[in-house]
């Protein structure tokens, strides 16, 4: 029962000090909420198992070619999967965009071509009708579709008789055969499911395409084993096929990744760890602050504790007694944080889902779930340990005799000030590291927001196609389709410009220059284009555009990038020059007819535009099965999109674009993410800075107060105010130097990672400038935090300082 008395006493103390209680609660709620929200938000994106039965056994399968991800080797992977018994189930799908027409209106919806086993793979039954079966895959089968709950609800008003009804998809009459349950959008964002076309079902050895693969790992095999077995098998097959089917030489390996990890391009764990470490650092800052406040309270009660100890209270009991205040505040803070984080997650979920209704993976659900609650318990316990146990334990370990004899000043051992000094040093270390990292992150965010890709996205749309060999067996037929579609689109009053392009691959330039040939990049990114593309990208700088006359029968012509001219022919006239290029393992001669602006198409967003060279060939001489169409609309996006579909269906009613979206979609997505990350970082950094400022001031002020008696002694023996202030500033400088020194060391390691991540985009001088600003800012803050309480303490008359307890 005695502990009940202790709790009652602790409550009484907290109620008696409402300002203290409110301040500690605010600090704790801030630290706990930030950490918990960061964890929960990122956990839902990166690690949360798919919300499907046995979701933890579901993987995606990737091929890595010579260590590069996303190898176009679907055939080899599927063959290896057939050979090796590592998966209990698997299949392929293809994402697409379809046009759903209802009355006179239409809308573009993300959909997937799927195999019949996909629904049983995901262990989900339709709420109405049936799913796709083998019969539906036949070329002569009736066109069928399975609707998502969202489409059924939003577009068909939850029609209970929807199954069996005909709807128009891509202007083709299609029968609804089923409706899937709410929130089911497997594999990623699908709102409609269509049978996988026949031509995708039998992937040939010559295929250079990549298809997404879903698979369930057998229970008796580990992830590593499966990857190894599949890699060995796939690589053996690849070593046979690459020579035979004109594929790129190299080693093939297989990687398995969960759907969430795969969606983050397999870098999610780095992001998860990085941001959680930052959030945890902020929680530790909050704990130090609260711990310091509780320590100050404990010091005030030191005499009381000494009396209790003298009366026979065991140390455990005393520690627990001192901890109750902290435990109560932390538990209260923990509960309030959970409620706050729950509300924040729910709001975040609503905002993101309404902002990006069609592009959120179906497992991105932000809510208070079991892992979040478990982590809330872990964070609360950590906080109790750091902010409550340590100060209580320290305080209960006092010299009772000294305290009873001389008051609290008698109990100030040599160690007393050390903890405060260490905590201040640690806070300086943390905040200097966080400030530097935050500044660099802000710079990166600013860079990403203003990055120039060499592309003008203004009012442009992008459509990509996969022209199947069965329908478009010859290059001429492919060209006819593209040219025809471009011509048709240009008839629309809403469409001002069009062009088509396709990335052919890396070509090898055979060239002799005065420079050492070995130092020059040998691979050049090569595109084929039809039409004038400079309204969108690669503005013409010299010479002429590629035209309709640059056809199959004409001489081979090329537009080269400015970077290429500067690299190979810096002082020469390049127009009319002929170059030899190895393309598709054939050496061909091209005449340069124009020079165009550089594109930002390096290995990442951070690559310099001149880091890569580009060549643009005529699409009438080099066509492709995977063209991209770009059109620019006048002012009415909806009308232009409608017209695009009408034009497309004039040529082929069965052809769906893989993508139809604003050309800036990926760039905007990246920028939006950069803005969100920047705001989260700024918010967190602002809160961390506030915590650190109050923490450093609080710790320093507390430390000065604890040394008031010492100040009295020093002044009694003749120290002036200036002597005392200088002494404290000198001690503070040591903490500042140690803390910032450690921060610089950690930041140096992080800076190397930043440099590697951004491909040395950040100029080294920026680091120097940031370090100078952060060092100056922190020095001023810390020195002020020492100066102000010290000045206050020296204002006391020495006689009063000597009596101070």
């Amino acid at each position: 029962m005695s502990w009940l008395l202790d709790i009652k006493y602790a409550f009484r103390l907290l109620i008696k000090a409402p300002k203290f209680t409110a301040l500690t609660l605010v600090v704790l709620i801030g630290g706990l909420s930030l950490s918990l929200f960061t964890f929960s938000f990122l956990y839902a994106i990166v690690y949360k198992p798919l919300p499907l039965p046995e979701g933890d056994t579901v993987y995606r399968v990737f091929g890595n070619h010579n260590g590069h991800r996303h190898a176009n080797v679907a055939y080899e992977i599927l063959q290896a999967m057939q050979q090796e018994d590592v998966f209990s189930e698997y299949g392929i799908w293809q994402d697409t965009s379809v046009r759903l027409s209802i009355n006179d209106a239409g809308k573009t919806i993300p959909a997937s071509f799927v195999q019949p086993n996909m629904f049983s793979f995901s262990r989900t039954e339709p709420i109405m009708g049936r799913t796709i079966n083998q019969e539906d895959l036949r070329t002569d089968a009736e066109k069928v579709v399975v609707l998502s709950h969202t489409v059924w609800q939003n577009d068909f008003n939850q029609d209970p008789n929807i199954v069996g009804k005909n709807i128009r998809i891509n202007e083709t009459v299609t029968t609804v055969i089923g409706v899937m349950p709410k929130n089911y959008n497997f594999p990623i964002v699908s709102k409609l499911w269509l049978p996988l076309p026949q031509q995708l079902q039998n992937i040939q050895p010559s295929s250079k395409q990549q298809y997404p693969i879903y698979a369930r790992l057998n229970h008796n095999i580990s992830l590593k084993q499966a990857e190894q077995q599949l890699s060995d098998a796939a690589n053996s097959i690849y070593q046979l096929t690459y020579k035979q089917y004109d594929k790129e030489e190299g080693e093939l390996s297989i990687e398995l990744a969960s759907f969430p990890i795969a969606q983050t391009d397999r870098d999610g764990s780095i992001v998860f760890t990085f941001f959680n470490l930052i959030a945890l650092s902020i929680l530790i800052l909050a704990c130090i602050n609260v711990g310091n406040l509780l320590l100050a309270r404990a010091i005030e009660r030191q005499k009381e504790i000494a009396i209790r100890a003298a009366l026979g209270a065991p140390q455990k009991r005393l520690t627990l007694q001192l901890m109750w205040e902290g435990i109560i505040i932390t538990l209260l803070g923990g509960v309030l944080s959970v409620l706050l984080v729950g509300a924040l997650l729910s709001t975040t979920d609503s905002i993101i889902k309404s902002a990006l209704p069609n592009n959120i993976p179906f497992w991105w659900n932000w809510e208070l779930d079991a892992p979040t609650l478990l982590m809330a318990i872990v964070f609360t316990l950590l906080t109790i340990f750091l902010a409550s146990f340590i100060p209580a334990w320290r305080s209960a370990n006092q010299d009772i005799n000294a305290t009873l004899r001389d008051g609290t000043r008698g109990a100030q051992s040599k160690k007393a000030g050390k903890l405060s000094r260490m905590l201040v040093t640690f806070q300086i270390f943390l905040i200097s590291t966080l400030l530097l990292m935050g500044s660099v992150s802000a710079f990166i965010a600013y860079f990403l927001l203003n990055v120039d890709f060499g592309v003008n996205y203004d009012r442009t749309y992008l459509a990509s196609f996969n022209l199947q060999k069965q329908e478009y067996p010859t290059e001429q037929q492919q060209r006819n389709f593209i040219q025809g579609l471009l011509t048709e689109l240009e008839q629309s009053p809403q469409i001002t410009n069009t062009f088509s392009y396709f990335f052919i691959g890396q070509s090898t330039l055979k060239i002799q220059t005065e420079k050492d040939i070995n130092t020059l990049p040998k691979k050049i990114k090569t595109f084929s284009i039809i039409g004038k593309g400079d309204f969108y990208r690669a503005e013409l700088l010299q010479g002429r555009h590629l035209s309709i006359s640059d056809n199959e029968n004409a001489q081979r012509v090329v537009l080269v990038s400015q970077s290429m001219v500067e690299r190979y022919w810096p002082d020469e006239m390049v127009l009319g020059k002929t170059i030899d290029v190895m393309l598709n393992q054939q050496e061909q001669t091209f005449t340069i007819v124009g020079v165009v602006a550089n594109l930002a198409d390096g290995s990442s967003f951070y690559s310099d535009k001149i880091s890569e060279d580009e060549m643009h060939l005529s699409g009438l001489q080099f066509s492709s099965s995977y063209p991209r169409i770009i059109y620019k609309y006048h002012d009415n996006e909806q009308e232009a999109e409608e017209y695009f579909y009408q034009s497309l269906f004039k040529f082929n009613r069965n052809l769906e674009p893989n993508r139809l979206e604003p050309a800036s979609y990926s760039s905007d997505m990246m920028k939006n993410i950069a803005v969100i990350v920047a705001w989260i970082t700024f918010g967190s950094a602002g809160f961390a800075l506030l915590l650190a400022l109050t923490g450093i001031y609080g710790l320093t002020a507390n430390s000065v107060v604890q040394r008031t008696h010492e100040i009295g002694v020093r002044r009694a023996v003749g120290a002036t105010d200036r002597n005392i202030i200088q002494l404290f500033l000198k001690h503070g400088s040591k903490q500042l130097m140690i803390g910032m020194g450690a921060g610089m060391m950690v930041f140096s390691v992080i800076a190397i990672a930043f440099q590697s991540f951004t491909e040395n985009m950040i100029p080294p001088l920026l680091y120097v400038a940031l370090i100078t600003v952060v060092v100056t800012l922190l020095s001023v803050i810390v020195m002020l935090a020492i100066y102000l309480p010290t000045r206050k303490a020296v204002k006391l008359e020495p006689s009063a300082a000597l009596r101070y307890e």
């Binding site: 003749g718 020495p798 006689s799």
Partner: protein, 239 residues
Amino acid sequence: MTALIQLKNISKHFVTDEVETHAVNQINLSITQGEYLALSGPSGCGKSTLLSLLGLLDSPSEGTYHLTGLDASSLNRNERAKIRNEKVGFVFQSFNLISDLTVAENVMLPLTYQKGLSKQTMMDKVNDVLQQVEMSHRTRHFPSQLSGGQQQRVAVARALVNDPAFILADEPTGNLDSKNAEAVMQLLNSLHQKGSTIVMVTHDPRSAECASRQVEMLDGQIIRDSLITQTAAPISAAI
């Protein structure tokens, strides 16, 4: 003989919770060079406050204070600090050693606030006074590693290191056992024999008997001021 210390109508008032307390009230006191003055009286009579005023640890509310002919009541904070550093040595009841500093560093403390002293000079002075108090074997120890008596001897050494014009001792034996108390009193006696001026606050009449002059206070005023012709026997005899 010229007075070392001359107090005229000195008062010190404290105001706490709107209640004014006259800790020292209209005191006149003159102390000459070489005197050993014991200031006694019951708790709360104002002895320690008077000692603080004498040592310039506090400033009077009223009256004038002349120290070696200089008007100390009109000095600013820094000037008072300089005088404390050069002319006053303090010995406190609770020793008031700084726990983070070693014995030598504690003793050296007053010298570190003087200008122009070399490290060697300071060390020589420190060693000299530590020898006087028989603590030279503990120079590198921290206060927490010493007994109460040893700590007080270190405090006396610190009071002596700047060769002060007078020593102010505030109940120097209050926290000591009889054996250590005697040792400290003997130390003060011997300093007095060598010509030091000592003002010692004590509420214990037996300690006061060691002095050459006894001043007794009550309610902030001096009620008795008497000279003792013979130096008292060692305190152990009195105890």
